[in-house]
Amino acid sequence: MRGDSQKLFGITLAPMNQRRLQNFKKNRRGYWSLWIFIVLFGLSLLAEIIANDKPIIVFYDDQAYFPIVQALPETHFGGEFKTETDYHDPYVQNLISAKGWMIWPLIQYNYKTVAYKLPTPAPSAPDFDHWLGTDDQARDVVARLLYGMRISILFGLLLTAISAVIGVTAGAIQGYFGGVLDLIAQRFIEIWSGLPTLYILIIVSSVLVPSFWTLLGILMLFSWVGFVGVVRAEFLKVRNYDYIRSAKALGVSDRMIMYRHILPNAIVATLTFLPFTLTAAITGLTSLDFLGLGLPAGSASLGELLAQGKANLQAPWLGLTAFVSLAIMLSLLVFIGEAVRDAFDPRKLFNGDRS
């Protein structure tokens, strides 16, 4: 019988989902991985406040300013230039501390800030100022890591979400209607997924100017295919069930049947797939960046950091940082994925039930 209804973010969960949530929580490794991932992702979303070359608050002349969101010319603080204030300039710092104070972020550099006062030539080794050293263009590695992680994860999430929508739709239509449509679409997908993805990516990205959005588009051309199989199989199976026939006998339209009756079944298969697609998306972007075909020069990216590590073997902190952070992020996602998969596994769900 029905257990106590449990709420997740205010949504009342069906008993089946409650049990899945319980199963997910029971997998300690996956559960903790999820929290660690959420915290890391949350931190990277706040990258502007954690790592920036502008102070969070400037209190000057009895008035508070937020340089991160507002651009202030140096003249505003009584300086010489009409350009935006360089808060690292000792001259400006003196001007501000004379009439007020400012609070700096934890890391006083953002991903493109070039640190000019390095004790050694760039890339410099880790010290108290630059916790993980700087790269070969004297930019702070921690800041670049933080921003790079953000862009990777956002890219991955967006790519996964869009390709899931396309893939699920394609799979649903194929599975539900079957027949010639399914036959043609399946052959197309077979040819499509037989194409050497990486070469095509390299060719396309050498024609188009690489940017966040063009890369997203290019990678999406291939990543939606992964969802089609599972969703199509689920639709093929469920469309013959009696409750689908009952719905047809009630006169429910095909669209409603697909959406209301079959899709929830396919969602399970899709959800199980998501974390792994996410890792694939992140790896994809990283490898493009590593090859220099990815995000435009100067953007923070893990792949670019890896490439720098390869180019500067005398500065192991570059390669190690990129490697370790990628390894941790991908492992976390895989652990989460495993836990989700187990949580949705009906055999784990129903063990012990027997008539």
Partner: protein, 553 residues
């Protein structure tokens, strides 16, 4: 485990001696007592039947004899004892159990479809048993397998050796299962609902076979069933089980003639009863079809040319008057369900269909959709016909939304409550999900889903076949009262002639897509003309095999 005193000296030693056997399932939160202290004995050569409704613990108690339960979630509390020839089975080591399983005690399950491995040939599956227990060589095993297949009455056994399970019919599969079970000449055969999934005609054949084999081999049978007809025919002793306990046991004759316990009496009275509704013979025609044909093409070769057709329905005509019920009977595969679906325009067919005087054979799109409100269907499997992810209320509401009935949400809610009341369910439960209901309740929900649209014509596709006997009786009563109340017209599809007799006033007997006999229920049941109908009726009411050549193997 406690060692009990061996009392075999007192009397003839029982083959199987079960003393206060309990089975507990330990769930995450709660412990379920599936079996609570049952005691019975099984003598050499005897047939004992465990009778009870689903959930009474009969299967669990039988599985514990072979220690096949999912241990350690399942546990036998202190004091439980199962003795096979005086030897304790509970807690026996793996080697002992392996020797007993399949060698001394065999089991056949209900579902022959899933009990055989679809990837292996019949020969391989039977041989395996012989290899494991007898250590036979390949040639010996082949010989023995042939013998066994002959023994269980498979025609052309040598040709069947290389067949895969999907190439056999349900009855043949069950025969193969029996052959496997008998491979090592067991002392005891546990038959767990051996015929429930089979047609009545096949059921009669299998029961006949079991009896024959018992005489020939002198084994004991522990028969688990919910069907009292089978018990009466097969068993020497009966144990009536409910809620994990044996409430009454004794010789079959005594249980049937003088049932003592209230539950036994209830069970005996639980057959679907009553007569069809007396309908107005002048009533207008509501559904009619002429020469309906549904042919599925069989395609072969690279070019997928159509080489032949499977004639699922091959020229059936019928006329149904308002308020009447027509029964469609026949073995599985005879095209009954296909006919029902064709009449509802759920699959395409050839031939004329008239509903309410208008031809609907070519109706399409929104016209067809609005027609759906007036003709509804209730399916056989109450577990498969309700979407598991929607609440009962949502399931019933769906049709209302599609046909824009009952205006706003509140009015729809009132209609849902009314429909649930009508089928005898508590409307308070409308926010619950299908899995929280029993089979009979689910079938009521499926009926409510159809009834909420106030249809005039209802196709009932084996609505009672998946249910316990007493629940069947309730559903039949419900259907009858709904018919009277709303002047409904039924097309009742079933292989169970007992149920058909209680509902239908006209009957069509189908075989291989064709109507072999048509007539009023009285004519068909009292004076069947064709051999096929006679065989069906004999098998259904007396569990006997007649006119074997008229029915399928």
């Amino acid at each position: 485990m406690s060692v009990l005193v061996d009392n075999s000296t007192e009397e003839e030693q029982a083959l199987l001696d079960i003393t206060s056997l309990s089975v507990q399932f330990h769930g995450e939160e709660e412990t379920v007592d599936a079996v609570a202290g049952i005691t019975y004995k099984l003598m050499e050569g005897q047939t004992v039947a465990l009778v009870g409704e689903s959930g009474s613990g009969k299967s669990v108690s039988a599985l514990s004899i072979l220690q096949l339960l999912p241990y350690p979630q399942a546990q036998h509390p202190q004091g439980s004892s199962i003795k096979y020839r005086g030897k304790e089975i509970i807690g026996a080591d793996d080697a002992t159990m392996r020797d007993i399983r399949g060698n001394k005690i065999s089991i056949i399950f209900q579902e022959p479809m899933t009990s055989l491995n679809p990837l292996h040939t019949i020969e391989k599956q039977i041989n395996e048993v012989l290899f494991v227990h007898k250590g036979m060589s390949k040639i010996e095993a082949r010989k023995r397998t042939l013998e066994l297949l002959k023994l269980v009455g498979i025609k052309n056994p040598a040709g069947r050796l290389k067949s895969y399970p999907h190439e056999l019919s349900g009855g043949q599969r069950q025969r193969v299962m029996i052959a496997m079970a008998l491979a090592n000449e067991p002392d005891l055969l546990i038959a767990d609902e051996p015929t429930t999934a089979l047609d009545v005609t096949i059921q009669a054949q299998i029961l006949e076979l079991l009896k024959e084999l018992q005489d020939k081999l002198g084994m004991s049978i522990l028969l688990i069933t919910h069907d009292l007809g089978i018990v009466r025919k097969m068993a020497d002793r009966v144990c009536v089980m409910t809620e994990g306990q044996i409430v009454e046991q004794g010789p079959t004759e005594k249980i049937f003639s003088q049932p003592e316990h209230a539950y036994t009496q209830e069970l005996l009275a639980a057959e679907p009863q009553g007569k069809p509704v007396e309908a107005n013979s002048e009533a207008p025609e509501i559904m009619a079809c002429e020469d309906i044909k549904v042919h599925f093409p069989v395609k072969r070769g690279i070019l997928r040319r159509t080489v032949s057709y499977i004639k699922a329905v091959d020229g059936i005509s019928l006329t149904l008057q308002q308020g009447h019920t027509i029964g469609i009977v026949g073995e599985s595969g005879s095209g009954k369900t296909t006919l029902g679906l064709a009449l509802l325009r759920l699959i395409s067919s050839k031939g004329a269909i008239r509903f309410d005087g208008k031809s609907i054979a070519k109706t399409k799109g929104s016209q067809l959709r609005s027609l759906r409100q007036e003709m509804q269907i209730v399916f056989q499997d109450p577990y498969g016909s309700l979407s598991p992810r929607l609440s009962i209320g949502q399931i019933i509401e769906e049709g209302l939304k599609v046909h824009r009935l009952g205006g706003n949400a509140k009015e729809r809610e009132a209609l849902i409550v009314e429909a649930l009341n009508e089928v005898g369910l508590n409307p308070e439960n409308r926010h619950r999900y299908p899995h929280e209901f029993s089979g009979g309740q689910r079938q009521r929900i499926a009926i409510a889903r159809a009834m909420v649209l106030k249809p005039r014509f209802l196709v009932l596709d084996e609505p009672t076949s998946a249910l316990d006997m007493s629940v069947q009786a309730q559903i039949v009563d419900l259907l009858r009262s709904l018919q009277v109340k709303h002047n409904l017209t039924y097309l009742f599809i079933s292989h169970d002639l007992k149920v058909v007799r209680t509902l239908a006033d006209n009957v069509i007997v189908m075989k291989d897509g064709k109507a072999v006999e048509t007539g009023t229920a009285k004519e068909i049941f009292e004076a069947p003309q064709t051999a096929y109908t006679q065989a069906l009726i004999k098998a259904a009411f007396d569990l006997e095999v007649v006119n074997q050549e008229a029915i399928s193997a």
